[in-house]
Amino acid sequence: MFPFSVTPQQASEELMRFNQKLVAGMTSLSETGPISAGVSGRDAVYTDDKLVLYRYQSRVEKRHRVPVLVVYALVNRPYMADLQEDRSLIKGLLDEGMDVYLIDWGYPDGADRYLGLDDYINGYVHRCVSHICEAHDLYRINLLGICQGGTFSLCYAALHPEKVRNLVTTVTPVDFQTPDNLLSRWAQQLDVDLLVDTMGNIPGDLLNFTFLSMNPYRLTGQKYLDMVDLLDQPDKLKNFLRMEKWIFDSPDQAGEAFRQFIKDFYQRNGLVKGEVVIGGHRVDLKNISMPVFNVYATLDHLVPPAASKVLKELVGSADYSEFAFKGGHIGIYVSGRAQKEVPPAIADWLKARG
């Protein structure tokens, strides 16, 4: 059978409809207004250089006694965890009675070039934890890390186990050299010293380009063709643009921290080998003796499940649990199903551990 059942008339009509949508959609696109993200009420409670620590306003009468600090990645912006009303990990946690704090790293500039992992983990994270402890008259709190922020949380918990009551990691890379880790493969032969010495801070656009290169045809072509179908649906168009904003709202990476992260974690796989040294102290995951809840996404192409699940073998905790979400790296936070599954799972686990 001939593999095309498209008649000239059908094809012409299809193209006509497409172009009609395109032309008509220009107007609706110009009328979308500003794209905002971040829906939950919050207060800035602490600042440290460009970092802002936010405490989210409660949505229940009585909050859980122990606050949870969300440590986001340096890549992209943390409002992904609170993207919109019906897609918000933060809101889900608040609804479950959690007392949620979040670190917003801000946008590093040239003056931040020499910020290293020691500054981020033993500096910023530690001071945020201390601030929350003092505010709540607690000696330790709960930590929730997202992606690279999860790796930071693991390092912090290993270096300061006495400050972490319970540790939650989500889509967190631990083994950076699993066979299915495409980012890692690309990073192996990168002359990161030359790159950082030359560029200083690493442009966020460069990282975006790297992520897009993983599915270039779909992410730079088909996606936008599909967008034409949304032009006459204002709400869906706005959601699309909101996600688009998040994807390309990429802070530059502080040069020294980037150098250390690529070399020690991606190229040497030091976290698994116990060879990462931060602030003069070796990061030994066996020091993580507090309860650990490891959430990963089964279809994650940036942090493959195997890269996360290895944590079970490495931590010193006797109380280790996993939660597998059937979805991707971003879907675990913003998909409709994730809202029903992920925040309750995290909150229930935390509540069960006081």
């Binding site: 059978m1 000239p8 172009n19 395109l22 493969r185 030359l194 290169s213 045809y217 072509g221 936008y224």
Partner: protein
């Protein structure tokens, strides 16, 4: 095989329907555009509203003339249009400004995707027309399909292969654009130079154009005289550029293979669809199938060591060029007595180091301030308790009474006075020296 779809006079049907549809479309689009968008008084885009109409006009003319290439040359979709018609058109709709916002960048991407889709549709139509002609001549459609795929492949291997390879749907254009973007602030080695160099597809073409062997020899010559060091640095920079060009060409050649292999896979998938009676039912369907093929081939390609090596070589070579140009720029700035990047880096490093020290001191002070002194306090309280202040007072009172007794009896018993006083002193000494002992004595212990 059955030529069922082409059992009717496809060509005639195509032409008639196209003319009819375009006529209706012209009327519809023209009405909408003229009614809503006038673009009056915008310099350079006075006729922007006419562009869609011009395209439709081209379509009409092409449909009549049989020239099927022209209809797809939409003004704002043209490759290389760059900041020209598309930007003007966007500006005319009031959604263009230098700042990038999600909707604006999304619009640009959407237009690029739409452009790709439309161009692809044009190619498909042309292919279908040729297949129709072939079928009319009695050929099998499979052979026509094969020819169509080969024709598509020629886009990536012909004279303009580089352009097509770099922009099948704007995807492969990005490595170049992205990395070139790094050079925007580098006037000595501007993106334009690199773009021109990278744009030379035939291996060694640039070197030949620039003098080939002569250039190689020149770069190998030792520097002489006062500017010896500068000469050497310039030579090193040029060598870096040549390494980059070679690395870029290797990368581009590999990237091109993805497009070619994706077309082979598309060919295979189409034959499978034909064999399983699951024909492509729309242009979009075909587009998605092509994207799937591209992604499938690309996924395999980028996981392989060949790509990783080529990609790393290209990136590292380009960064090396920039590093060199940055060093030269610093020299120039230094010569002009202006701040250099090196100096700024030193300052930033020192500031960061100072901040770390300040943080450490702050933390120490905070620790000292909030230290737990309760143990020390307990110790002091114990000491105070041991002093037994109450008994010391009693002891003092006793001594006073002893003294008074002694004073009153001094006149009567002058001889006894010294003895009594001495006893009292002894008693006082004993009491003062061991208050608890006195207290215990008082308690009768």
């Amino acid at each position: 095989m059955a030529n069922d779809t082409f059992s009717v006079d496809w060509m005639q049907g195509w032409t008639d329907l196209q003319r009819k549809i375009w006529n209706e479309w012209v009327a519809m689009a023209g009405e909408q555009l003229h009614a809503n968008r006038g673009f009056p008084g915008i310099p350079g885009v006075e006729n922007a509203a006419q562009w869609p109409m011009q395209w439709l006009q081209q379509v009409m003319e092409a449909a009549g003339s049989g020239n099927t290439a022209a209809p797809w040359s939409v003004p704002w979709f043209q490759q290389g249009a760059g900041a020209g018609p598309l930007d003007d058109w966007m500006r005319s709709f009031g959604i263009y400004s230098p700042e990038t916002t999600p909707e604006k960048s999304a619009l640009a991407n959407m237009m690029a995707a739409a452009s790709g889709f439309t161009r692809l549709s044009g190619e498909i139509f042309r292919a279908l027309q040729k297949m129709g002609e072939g079928v009319q001549d009695g050929s099998e459609w499979t052979r026509s399909l094969d020819q169509a795929i080969q024709q598509a492949k020629s886009l990536f291997t012909g004279q303009d292969g580089s352009k097509a390879a770099m922009d099948p749907m704007s995807a492969w254009g990005q490595p170049l654009q992205m990395w070139m973007g790094m050079f925007k602030d580098q006037p000595l080695f501007s993106g334009g130079i690199l773009q021109a160099m990278a744009g030379q597809q035939q291996s060694g073409q640039w070197q030949q154009a620039a003098g080939g062997e002569w250039l190689q020899k020149l770069l190998a010559m030792p520097g002489l005289g006062l500017t010896r060091e500068k000469q050497e640095r310039m030579q090193a920079g040029m060598r870096d550029l040549m390494v980059y060009q070679e690395a870029f060409q290797s990368f581009q050649t590999l990237s091109n293979q993805v497009n070619l292999r994706a077309l082979d896979l598309l060919h295979k998938r189409l034959l499978e669809r034909g064999a399983t009676n699951k024909p492509v039912e729309s242009m979009r369907d075909l587009y998605v199938l092509w994207v799937d093929c591209c992604e499938e081939v690309n996924a395999e390609f980028v996981r392989g060591p060949t790509f990783q090596e080529a990609n790393s070589r290209m990136v590292n070579a380009l960064v090396r060029v920039r590093h060199h140009s940055q060093t030269m720029m610093d020299e120039l700035m230094g010569a002009l007595n202006l701040p250099t990047r090196r100096e700024l880096n030193s300052s930033h490093r020192q500031v960061q180091e100072l901040k770390r020290r300040v943080r450490a001191l702050e933390e120490e002070i905070h620790t000292l301030r909030t230290q737990d002194h309760s143990a020390e306090l307990r110790s002091i309280r114990d000491d105070l308790d041991r002093l037994d202040v109450r008994n010391l007072r009693q002891e003092l009172a006793d001594m006073k009474s002893v003294l008074e007794v002694a004073r009153s009896s001094s006149t009567d018993h002058a001889d006894k006075k010294q003895t009594t006083t001495a006893r009292a002193r002894v008693a006082a000494r004993e009491k003062t020296g061991s208050a608890p002992a006195v207290a215990a004595a008082k308690r009768g212990e």
